[in-house]
Every structure is written in C-alpha cells, then in structure tokens.
C-alpha cells in the first residue's frame, strides 16, 4: 500500500493529519497497537518538524506485510549539524513553535527511539529527507 500527503510549513492547524490517517490505516490492517503507536509517534514528530522548520514537504508511506517505511521529504533550511540536532535538548525552533508545546529538542531523538531504522539526509539551504522504518 502507498499513501502520499503534502504538508505546508507553518500550518499547525493541519499538522498531524497524515499521521492520523496512517494510524487509521494501520488499525484497519490489524497491526499490533504498540507498533502502531511507535509508527505514528515517529511520523507525527517528523510531520510536526516539517510544519515547524520547513517551507513545505511531502510524506510518502509504504506499507507491506513486513512493516512500514516512511519518507518525509521537505524543502527547507536543512540541518547544519545532524549530530547536534540528534542531541536531546538542542532545537532551532521559533518561539511560536515552543509556545505550541514543541521545539524542546526532543523530536529527532524520539523518532530514533521509536523506529527500527532512521536515516537523515539533509542539504543546507535545500531541505531534509527522513527515512523511518518500523518493522511489524
């Protein structure tokens, strides 16, 4: 199965829509609830990251019998120092994003914790692609 969603930077009203849809699909497929939770938390963190940091992005979700692969490709500033971004507590989020309850420098480490495989491909000034794999 394949699903695709578009995400607008700054659009906090719709942030989480894709994650919500994927949660419904995984439930319909009868995936173990703990695996669903890991998948959607990782996806939601990544979706919020696009809204918080990028101009726009595309989410591509591939589901097969072995697991779910999630690709989040954004056009945005990119990540200058991935090692630093992966450190708990480091964030470049704006004050507005922090007021919404995010931007505490916990997103990327939490994606890493919830996924079975997590890769970041980023080019400063162009954008970032996250690849998150979760096995069923």
């Amino acid at each position: 199965m394949y699903f695709e969603y578009f995400v607008e930077g700054g659009d906090f009203t719709n942030a989480g829509y894709a994650s919500s849809q994927i949660k419904k699909h995984l439930k319909e497929l009868g995936v173990d609830p703990s695996v669903i939770k890991r998948s959607v938390i990782a996806l939601y963190e990544a979706e919020v990251n696009i809204v918080a940091h990028a101009y726009r992005g595309k989410i591509k979700i591939f589901i097969n019998k072995n697991g779910v692969k999630m690709l989040l490709e954004d056009e945005g500033p990119g990540i200058a120092d991935v090692g630093l971004a992966m450190k708990k507590g480091f964030s470049t989020a704006s004050e507005a994003v922090r007021e919404m309850g995010f931007g505490a420098g916990m997103g990327l480490p939490n994606i890493n914790e919830n996924s079975d495989s997590f890769n970041i491909d980023t080019v400063v000034g162009k954008g970032t692609t996250l690849e998150i794999i979760i096995n069923f």
Partner: protein, 114 residues
C-alpha cells in the same frame, strides 16, 4: 477512581467524551510540553495540561491518551472538541491551576507515570 470522580474533584466541566466518565484511571501525567508527552511509553493515563490547542488533542490521539484535563478554564475551540470527539477522547476543563489539579488528584490516590 472513575473519571467522573476526577471531574468532581477538580470541579471540572465535561466538554466531550461523556461516555468515558465511568472508565477507571490510576495514573496521570502533567505537562505543557507536548514533546515530552510524546515520549511517555505507557498508554492508560490522563494528561493534565495548561496547553489548550489543537496539537494537544493530536498528541493525545497519537499517544493513545483517552483522557485530557485542561487547567485554568482555558477555552476549547470547536476544532479541538471535534477532533477529541472523533477520537473518543474525554475532555474536561477545570477552573483550577495545573498545580492544584495535580495536587488534588495526587492526594486522592492518582499515581504519577514517572
């Protein structure tokens, strides 16, 4: 303790999810930081928060949190109520502060997640 007891203890007003008022709850987590809520590994707990926005409900949806207590009578938007209803989330608003809600519920036997 039932969610109905919780509601009475904090002088709460139910916004949606009345059908869950007879559910039992034993644990709660109080936070205004959604990033922190997203790291909680357990499921069956109530979120006590002073943060009233749509992402608060989304976070509960992703984290399988079925009960949210919003402190200080923060206003709940129609979008928040709709999203909570869609996900069968019980939403309670209390006039008390986050500290007071937490203190009352802790004293009444609700345990912390951590």
């Amino acid at each position: 303790m039932t969610l109905n007891d919780v509601c009475n203890l904090v002088s709460g007003k139910v916004i949606c999810g009345e059908s869950r008022l007879n559910d039992e709850i034993s644990h709660a987590f109080a936070s205004d930081l959604l990033s922190d809520v997203l790291t909680v590994k357990t499921n069956h707990f109530m979120l006590i928060t002073g943060l009233a926005n749509l992402q608060c409900i989304r976070t509960a949806e992703m984290s399988d949190i079925s009960y949210i207590l919003i402190a200080r009578n923060k206003s709940v938007t129609d979008e928040m109520r709709e999203l909570a209803s869609e996900n069968n989330i019980l939403l309670i608003v209390s006039p008390f502060s986050l500290f007071k809600c937490s203190g009352i519920l802790y004293s009444a036997g609700i345990k912390p997640v951590y």
